[in-house]
Structures are given as structure tokens and as C-alpha cells.
């Protein structure tokens, strides 16, 4: 079977879905291929823009300021590249970079309003939401269900971590201890932190409960009332003003549930940032898919881009394979948003790394060829450290228009644009920049692709 489109997006995580939505909203005929899992759905569902500058130990209080610094110090960072387009005056580089990022983040927030993953926060200041470990992290936007209100500022706030019997992904007592110690060191509220466990039994068994089961269960009528009933005594006993839940408050009704629980208990209720399987990550993934299809984009799930046809410096078509069929799609431009190792955009063995669809040669975080590196040599001895694992900064090198380049710095094709974690030069885990880079690069890659398509048609 053969198809035609203006734009083909390969990859259905944050980067690909944003790129696709922008193009579809522009009226382009857009097809998006998604092979399988995406890091986006594993994420905590909060949108990091920049939390730490590379190799710095103090968190950045404002993403905007962080980007000013980043664009001067790291011109090759995926946030920075657009500033170095020869069409931009040299005095405007930094401003362009900051403005573009802000534009993309503002766009994202506006578009996710009314979906299952509505966002809050802004580009001017980072927030410090609490995680299921009881730690905090700097991030730019959180889902509204994660809004902890004034728990960290109100002098008399009393926080209760709420666990669920038989749900091992969250242990309220260790989270409470860890968080309280952090607050004491910081000499800020809340000064009283407790923990309690409630029973939520989707299948009548108090063990082996999963996040998905719990979130689905709480989407049903009447379940929040039950929960509120169980919580009442605990709240009274400690005078709790705020309740922290693992991120399972619902899939479709999470925000409604939060509000309802707040009304019923007279407290501020919020979700912590959690680990995969992450319900907020899945909500974000679904919300992005919703806005893409609503904009008129076509999504082919379970389709893997496996080969391509290229004439001179133009990619003509892509072939996608699904369990029972193979299709060829002709298009004017292509966005490669296949992610890194989890998404599957970059793969490697003991002989080196390679990009998986076009067989492009990835580079390391400092832009040396990664085609023949032994992965273990691109790692740090320390497992978890501010330096991170250099192997996680490997990916494609792109030009200011987000086109992957050869080792001579010239674009590999005029109409192939890359976005998201497939790009090299940043380590999202330590910078806290994952979904922000994906969103911004997806946004810019789409703009450039649109421009190219308009030129040729």
C-alpha cells in the first residue's frame, strides 16, 4: 500500500506529536508513525525546561534565566542551535533562543488546557514539586493535579503522605521522613509531616496493586467519596492541611478527583512525581495524541519506519512495517523524532552507536563520532552523579534548522529534520531538560519543515 503526505513524522513521543500538531494545524497533510513505547509516557509528566546548567550544582530558579546562560555558554545545545542560523543577526542570538523556547512552552501549555494533562507554571520560575522518594526537583510546568498549593510556604501547614495498602510503588513513611529532613535542613514549612495508609481495592485484594489499576478504579463514580471517608479521621488526628498522593488520582478524571477530594476533606490534595509505570506520563502521552488527531493529523500506531528512498539530497519516501503490512509513504519533508535508547532512535552494541532509521552516524556529547565507541567507555564510574552518564548525551548533530548533519557539518538531506531525544549534546537526566527540549525542538523542527514544504510546493 502506498500513501502520500506533506509531512511524515517518525516517532510519537513529545517531540514527534508536537511537530505533527504544528504541521497539521498549519493545514499540512501529516502522517505520524509510532513504533511502540516512548520515554514520554514513562516520564513523571512534569515538563522540565532547564533545572541545572551542565556541571553546576545549584538549581536554576528561572528557566528564562537558565536559557540566557545556556545560549551563551553552550551554543551547540539543542536549545541554542536555532540562534546560530545565518538569518539571525548576531546581536539577536540569545534573545531569539530564549523567545523561541518560551514560545514553544507557552504553546504547549495552552494546547494541553482542557486535555487529561492540563499544565500550570510558567517560563519565568521553576517549581520544586515533591517526588515519591520525598525529594524535590526543579521543573518548569507541572500537571495541575500536582499543584501542592502553599504547603512549602504556609507556616502552619501540616502534610500527610498517603499510601495505599498493597501498592509497593509508593511508601509513605520513607517519603515523609526524607521530605521532613529536607525541610528541616531548609528551615522552611511544612514543619509537621506525617504518613498514613488507606485501602483502595479495585479487585478486592489488598496486594499487588498497580498504578494503572488504581487510577482506573478512581475514575469510577463513588470511589473518591470512599477515599475521603477513610481520610477524615487521619486528617483530624494530625490537623493535616495538605495530602500528598502517589500519582494515581485518575486517568481521565484526575483533576476532577483532586478538586472533589479537596472539597470533601477541606485540604489541599496533590499528586507526587513518580516513576514508571507513570500515570501522569501516560496522561501526557494521551493528551498529546489527542491534540494531534484533533488538529487533523493521522497516526499510525505499531508502524515502524524501516527504510527510506533518497534521491540526491532529498528524502522521497519512507517505508513503514507493521505486523501484517508494509507501506510506502511519499512526502515532501520528514521529521525524525524517534527518541534515544528507550524510544529506539539510537541503538548500539560493543562496536558503536547508530541511528536506527537512516543509519546516520551519531556523535557524543562533545561532538566526536560515536559510530565506533565502546559504550562502556562513554560512561562515568559513578552510577548517579551530577556528571551523569556521557552515553546519554549521544545522538545526532543538527544544524540551526534541526537537520541532521554529516561530519562535514552539511545537512544529510535538505528535507529531514530531527527533534527530541534523538538529538545529541544534552543530558536531560542531570540537566532536568527532557520534555522541554523535546517540545522546543519538535516545535522548531516543524516550523522549519513547514517552511521547506512551502518553498517546494
Amino acid at each position: 500500500m502506498d500513501l502520500e503526505a506533506d509531512l511524515v513524522v517518525i516517532g510519537g513521543g513529545m517531540a514527534g506529536l508536537i511537530a505533527g500538531t504544528i504541521a497539521a494545524e498549519e493545514g499540512l497533510d501529516t502522517i505520524l508513525l509510532r513504533k511502540g513505547q516512548s520515554a514520554t509516557a514513562y516520564s513523571s509528566g512534569a515538563i522540565d525546561v532547564i533545572g541545572y546548567l551542565p556541571e553546576a550544582s545549584e538549581p536554576i530558579s528561572s528557566p528564562e534565566e537558565g536559557l540566557f546562560a545556556l545560549s551563551r555558554l553552550y551554543p551547540l545545545h539543542p536549545y541554542s542551535v536555532i540562534g546560530y542560523d545565518d538569518r539571525i543577526e548576531s546581536g539577536k542570538i540569545v534573545e531569539t533562543i530564549v523567545e523561541r523556547t518560551k514560545e514553544a512552552i507557552t504553546w504547549l501549555k495552552a494546547h494541553l488546557d482542557g486535555t487529561d494533562a492540563p499544565l500550570m507554571g510558567d517560563f519565568k520560575s521553576n517549581m520544586h514539586p515533591i517526588t515519591i522518594l520525598g525529594t524535590t526537583k526543579p521543573t518548569c510546568l507541572i500537571q495541575k493535579t500536582m499543584d501542592h498549593g502553599d504547603v512549602q510556604t504556609r507556616e502552619d501547614s501540616v502534610l500527610l503522605f498517603i499510601g495505599i495498602t498493597g501498592y509497593a510503588d509508593f511508601n509513605p513513611s520513607t517519603a515523609a521522613k526524607t521530605y521532613l529532613e529536607d525541610r528541616i535542613a531548609d528551615t522552611s514549612p511544612p514543619r509537621i509531616v506525617g504518613h498514613r495508609t488507606v485501602q483502595v481495592m479495585p479487585f478486592g485484594k489488598p496486594y499487588n496493586l498497580s498504578s494503572v489499576e488504581l487510577a482506573r478504579h478512581l475514575d469510577h463514580e463513588g470511589t473518591i467519596e470512599d477515599l475521603a471517608e477513610q481520610l477524615k479521621g487521619h486528617i483530624e488526628q494530625l490537623g493535616a492541611t495538605h495530602l500528598a498522593f502517589p500519582p494515581i488520582l485518575g486517568i481521565q478524571n484526575a483533576l476532577k478527583n483532586k478538586v472533589k477530594l479537596e472539597e470533601l476533606t477541606g485540604t489541599t490534595v496533590f499528586e507526587l512525581l513518580g516513576f514508571p509505570p507513570s500515570i501522569p506520563g501516560q496522561r501526557l502521552q494521551r493528551a498529546l495524541e489527542t491534540i494531534f488527531t484533533k488538529a487533523g493529523g493521522k497516526m499510525l500506531l505499531g508502524h515502524e519506519a524501516t527504510s527510506y528512498q533518497k534521491v540526491n539530497d532529498i528524502v522521497k519516501s519512507i517505508t513503514a512495517t507493521a505486523p501484517r503490512r508494509e507501506i510506502k509513504i511519499d512526502a515532501n519533508a520528514f521529521v525524525l523524532a524517534t527518541g534515544k535508547y528507550i524510544g529506539g532512535g539510537i541503538a548500539g552494541d560493543e562496536k558503536g552507536l547508530r541511528e536506527t532509521v537512516f543509519d546516520l552516524g551519531p556523535v557524543t556529547g562533545d561532538y566526536h563520532s560515536a559510530m565506533e565507541i565502546v559504550p562502556s567507555r562513554s560512561t562515568s564510574r559513578l552510577s548517579i552523579s551530577p556528571t551523569g552518564q556521557p552515553i546519554q548525551s549521544c545522538g545526532l548533530s543538527v544544524d540551526p534548522r534541526f537537520r541532521p548533519v554529516n561530519d562535514d557539518g552539511i545537512e544529510w538531506a535538505k528535507n529531514l529534520f530531527a527533534a527530541g531525544a534523538v538529538i545529541a549534546g544534552y543530558n536531560y537526566s542531570v540537566e532536568k531538560s527532557g520534555l522541554g527540549v523535546a517540545a522546543t525542538s519538535g516545535y522548531s523542527a516543524a516550523k522549519n519543515a513547514i517552511e521547506f514544504i512551502k518553498e517546494v510546493t
Binding site: A39, Y42, S43, S44, D48, Y52, S57, T131, I132, L133, G134, T135, T136, K137, G166, Y167, A168, D169, N171, S173, T174, K177, T178, Y179, E181, D182, K205, P206, Y207, N208, L209, L273, G274, F275, P276, Y341, I342, G344, A347, G348, D349, E350, V374, P375, S376, T379, R381, L382, S383, I384, S385, P386, G388, Q389, I391, Q392, S429, V430, K432, G434
Partner: protein
């Protein structure tokens, strides 16, 4: 609180030290075991767990006889932690078969007592039917059977049994000095308690130095001397049982290497390199990994497609034979009575030995200890079973009774035998503890709680040794923080200690993951970084984390 006077202090909680402590305690001696880290934290924890017939040592007929006998004893006292593995040695050309033929007879001499068939040749078709991944051009293969034991559980059960017989077992206690009188007699042992930070001392009549590859260092701190030959061995570990049967083959340098299904994983090993490094810092090198893969590729061409999850490295404390390759060094052991060479009186050291012979070694040294103490008590370690070996376990009935999956119960049985009922009893009062914490293995919460209460772990890494926590394909990515919470609850740890436990365990897993990282492990590591750094923000944590020996330098 530790008593202050002992008949014997055993240094080292590996297979040798725990066996010695058990034997001494069973013979009624006042026994203290001091281990600087955890039980089975060093060499024994990196071995393949083969309690072999001694096939590789056929030039040492006495060794073969001892090994065979020990296999019989192990099957009597510890059958719940033992599995029989069939093995094929595929032959690619006739020279393979001709080069040594004596092994068939040597192996077959003791087959009856071990309850295995005699060694036999299989046709290529029969071999490939058993293991379809074998090279299609093999000309024949040799079939035989060996037994394997869980080395961690073995050491732990020996330690627990020693404790049941009155011994004191102290982990995280490092021997740093000795009290020696004018007559050059050892009177006391001084050790550093790594948990409390205190230095402690005890009086003792005798010291058994079972410190494995550190035995010479212990001797040195007694101002004595012990020559030793240290030899590094590495394994590559695969995510599951990738072969139906164990495979052995000759590597490019003529050494035998093997691929053994082991618990839920498969071990490819091993290398042998003389070493002078601190054993704590050693990791597998790229060369060792390639040596093993390329050698196994000759008979299993698709081995590289299998998922490698980590490497594992240990140091053999060999007898110091010079001018011979490692494989010709005796696998027998020596007991050095330092008083006989004008050394310190009361100090007895081990050299050499194997996991399979640890009980035998312990018997020999305890005989000597008893003789020195003027006691005449017979050894019974080969007769009395280790805890859990008392009876058969009906997994199917237990699964119905407690509503826990058969698979989880079977894995629990392989660790605990009849003692597993203690775990299951906990779930009566706490049904929520039926929750699976480590899904790879799998392990339920009740077993983790029981282990913390009764098996004296201090860290997640100690739990790994007791339960195989975090040893599967995800290498603890998902269970680290869950198990850390339980440990923290049970031990009443502070929040910072909880975070340190997570960092420690990630560090320990990373030690082995890093060297062989490729394929799916790249995505696995992105996930781990995403969880613990990106979301948990632990890379920026200011807790007091002690850098591990293998993390120092760049």
C-alpha cells in the same frame, strides 16, 4: 553484645569462613566469625556455584575423590539449594576429542555415588535436538552432569546454622590488628566495626584466617607472612536461561570455558589472569568479555544476540605455585599453621581451595583446632542438614493455601526449602506483604521483611545476596527504591540513609552493568537515569555517600 573470650575467631565470611564457623560451633567451641563486609560478599559471591566432580582436576586424583564425596554430602545436607545441570561439550573437530580422553574415565569413576550417568558421546543430531543454537557443523558432543549450589544461600545457611549452634556472627567487622604476647602467641583480635565506627577487641585462643584473597594481608597485620597467588576471574551474565543445557568449550588459548544456566540467568565464564590489584577495585575488562564471547561463539554462533546484563569479577586465592599456568595450579588447599614456621602461635591460615571443598577444608582445620585445644570431638557437618533441608515442600499445595503464584513459590523454595513456611505465615496477618517487590526474580514483600528480621542484612546489597534481589534483566531498576523503603521501615532508618541505600545499590549494580553495556541495556540505563536522576534528583542529593573502591579515580 559480643562476649569477650573465645576459643576460636574465624576471619572471613566466605564459603570457607562460614564452613569453619559452623564446624567449630557444632563441635561446641566458643566461636566468633568476623567479616569485614557481608556474608559471601567477596570471591564466593562471584563464583559459578558449581560443586563439581573435579573433572578439571583429573591430574589430581585425590582432589577428584574429595570433590565427588563432597557432592554427595552437599546433596545430603543442602539439597534444597542445589540443582543438577546437564552439560554438553560440543566437538568441532577430532583433535578436540583426541587431546584428552582420560577425563571420561576419571569422571566416570565416581558417577554412581553422585547419582549421575557415566559420561557419553552424543551424535550431532542428538546434540542439536537438545540445544538448537549449537553450531550445525559439530561432529559430536560429550554429555555429562554436574551439580550447582546457590553460593550466597550456602554461606548464609552455614552462618545461620553456626549461630544456631552458639557461634557469634559479626558482619561489617574488619580485623585490623592482633594482640601478641612475648611468646609470640596470639591473645586477642582487634577489629573495626564499620557500622558503629568503634574499634573492638576480643580474647581468643586461636585464629583461623579464612580471608580468601586477603589472607596474606591478615597475616601481615599479625606481623607474619603468607605467600599467595591471586588470580582474577570474570563472568558475563545473560538475562535469563538462554540455553537448555550447560555448554563447555575450549577457548582460543586452550583453557576450558563454560556457559551455565544459573538460577534465572546464564553465566559465561571464566577468565584467569594473575593479579596484584586490590580485589575490591577489580571489574571485567573489554578483553575478558571479548575472550569469553568469541570463544563461546565457536560453538554457539548466535550468542551475541542474547541480552547481556552485567559482568561479575572475583579473585581466586590460589596456592602460590610458580612457573605454571593458572590451570595447572592445584585446586587443593593448604592449611598453614604459622607456629610451625617460626610464625605466630595460634594463627592458622588457608590457601587455595574451592567452594565445593569448603566443608572438607573446615573439617580439616577444625580437627587441627580441636587438637590444639586438646579436645576430641568428631565432625558432624556432613551429617546434619542445613536449615530448610529437612523435608520436601509441596509447592502446589502451598500456592493454593496462600494464593501466591507457583513461580514465586518455586523461587522461594530454592532459597529456603521448608523454612519458606515462615515467610508464608507472615502473609496471614499481613496479606499486603504478598506484593511482589522484585518482579524479575520474583520476590514478595514478606520474604524481604523476614530476611531483614532474621538474616541480619544491613544494606540492599546484603538483601541481594540473601534473596537475589535486583539480579534480573532490569538489574534493580524497579525494585531498588521499593526494597530500600522496606529496609528503612524495618531498621528505622533516617531519610538520608534511605537515599544512601538507593545510591549504594545503584553503585553496586552499575559496577557490573557498566563494563558490558550494549543493546537493550542502553535503554535500561536510560530508564534508571530517568528515574533516579531526572525524577528523583538523586544526582544532586547532598547525602553522605561514600565513594566505593571501584568508583575511585577516573
Amino acid at each position: 553484645m559480643t562476649k569477650s573470650k573465645f576459643d576460636v575467631v574465624v576471619i572471613g565470611g566466605g564459603s570457607t569462613g562460614t564452613a569453619v564457623a559452623r564446624d567449630c560451633a557444632m563441635r561446641g567451641l566458643q566461636t566468633l566469625l568476623l567479616e569485614r563486609d557481608d556474608i559471601a560478599s567477596a570471591t564466593v559471591g562471584t563464583c559459578a556455584g558449581m560443586i563439581s566432580s573435579g573433572l578439571k582436576y583429573r591430574d589430581e586424583p585425590d582432589m577428584m575423590k574429595i570433590c565427588s564425596k563432597e557432592v554427595v554430602y552437599w546433596n545430603h545436607i543442602a539439597r534444597h539449594i542445589i540443582a543438577k545441570n546437564p552439560i554438553l561439550a560440543p566437538l568441532l573437530d577430532l583433535s578436540d576429542a583426541a587431546s584428552d580422553s582420560s577425563y571420561m574415565e576419571s569422571y566416570s569413576e565416581h558417577v554412581e555415588e553422585r547419582d549421575v550417568p557415566a559420561m557419553m558421546f552424543l551424535t550431532p543430531d542428538a546434540s542439536i535436538e537438545i540445544e538448537p543454537m549449537l553450531h550445525p557443523e559439530i561432529i559430536a558432543s560429550v554429555y555429562y552432569e554436574e551439580y550447582f549450589i546457590d553460593p550466597f544461600r550456602l554461606c548464609l545457611l552455614q552462618a545461620l546454622d553456626a549461630r544456631n549452634h552458639g557461634a557469634e556472627i559479626r558482619t561489617y567487622c574488619e580485623v585490623i590488628d592482633f594482640e601478641i604476647n612475648d611468646k609470640q602467641e596470639i591473645e586477642g583480635v582487634i577489629f573495626y566495626n564499620r557500622v558503629s565506627g568503634a574499634t573492638e577487641r576480643v580474647e581468643t585462643k586461636l585464629v583461623v584466617n579464612a580471608a580468601g584473597p586477603w589472607a596474606h594481608k591478615v597475616a601481615k597485620s599479625a606481623k607474619d607472612y603468607l605467600p599467595i597467588r591471586l588470580n582474577k576471574g570474570a563472568h558475563v551474565i545473560f538475562d535469563r536461561r538462554i540455553v537448555n543445557i550447560g555448554i563447555t568449550v575450549k577457548a582460543m588459548d586452550g583453557r576450558w570455558i563454560y556457559l551455565f544456566p544459573h538460577e534465572n540467568t546464564t553465566l559465561l565464564g571464566t577468565t584467569a589472569l594473575d593479579t596484584w590489584e586490590n580485589p575490591d577495585t577489580l571489574v571485567a575488562s573489554f578483553d575478558e568479555i571479548e575472550y569469553l564471547l568469541q570463544s563461546m561463539e565457536t560453538v554457539l554462533p548466535s550468542i551475541r544476540e542474547a541480552r547481556i546484563i552485567r559482568t561479575m569479577t572475583g579473585v581466586r586465592p590460589l596456592v602460590p605455585d610458580w612457573k605454571v599456568p593458572e590451570r595447572n595450579v592445584t585446586r587443593g588447599y593448604r592449611i598453614i599453621d604459622h607456629s610451625e614456621n617460626d610464625g605466630k602461635k595460634g594463627l592458622i591460615s588457608f590457601l587455595g581451595g574451592k567452594l565445593v571443598t569448603c566443608r572438607h577444608m573446615a573439617e580439616a582445620v577444625t580437627d587441627l583446632v580441636c587438637e590444639k585445644l586438646g579436645k576430641d570431638i568428631a565432625c558432624s557437618t556432613h551429617e546434619k542438614p542445613l536449615p530448610g533441608n529437612e523435608d520436601d515442600v509441596d509447592i502446589i499445595a502451598l500456592s493454593k493455601e496462600y494464593d501466591i503464584s507457583l513461580h514465586a513459590l518455586e523461587r522461594m523454595r530454592a532459597r529456603r526449602g521448608t523454612e519458606m513456611v515462615k515467610v508464608l505465615e507472615l502473609t496471614k496477618e499481613h496479606p499486603e506483604w504478598k506484593t511482589t517487590i522484585c518482579t524479575c526474580e520474583p520476590i514478595i514483600e514478606a520474604e524481604i521483611r523476614l530476611s531483614i528480621r532474621e538474616e541480619f542484612p544491613q544494606t540492599l546489597n546484603d538483601l541481594r545476596r540473601r534473596l537475589r534481589l535486583g539480579t534480573g534483566p532490569c538489574q534493580g531498576t524497579f525494585c531498588t527504591y521499593k526494597a530500600a523503603s522496606i529496609l528503612s521501615d524495618e531498621l528505622g532508618l533516617a531519610g538520608d540513609d534511605f537515599l544512601v541505600d538507593i545510591l549504594d545499590f545503584r553503585a553496586e549494580r552499575w559496577k557490573g552493568i557498566r563494563q558490558s553495556m550494549r543493546g537493550e541495556q542502553l535503554a535500561q540505563e536510560e530508564l534508571a537515569q530517568g528515574m533516579y536522576a531526572c525524577v528523583g534528583n538523586l544526582d544532586q542529593s547532598d547525602v553522605d555517600y561514600d565513594v566505593k573502591p571501584w568508583e575511585e579515580g577516573f
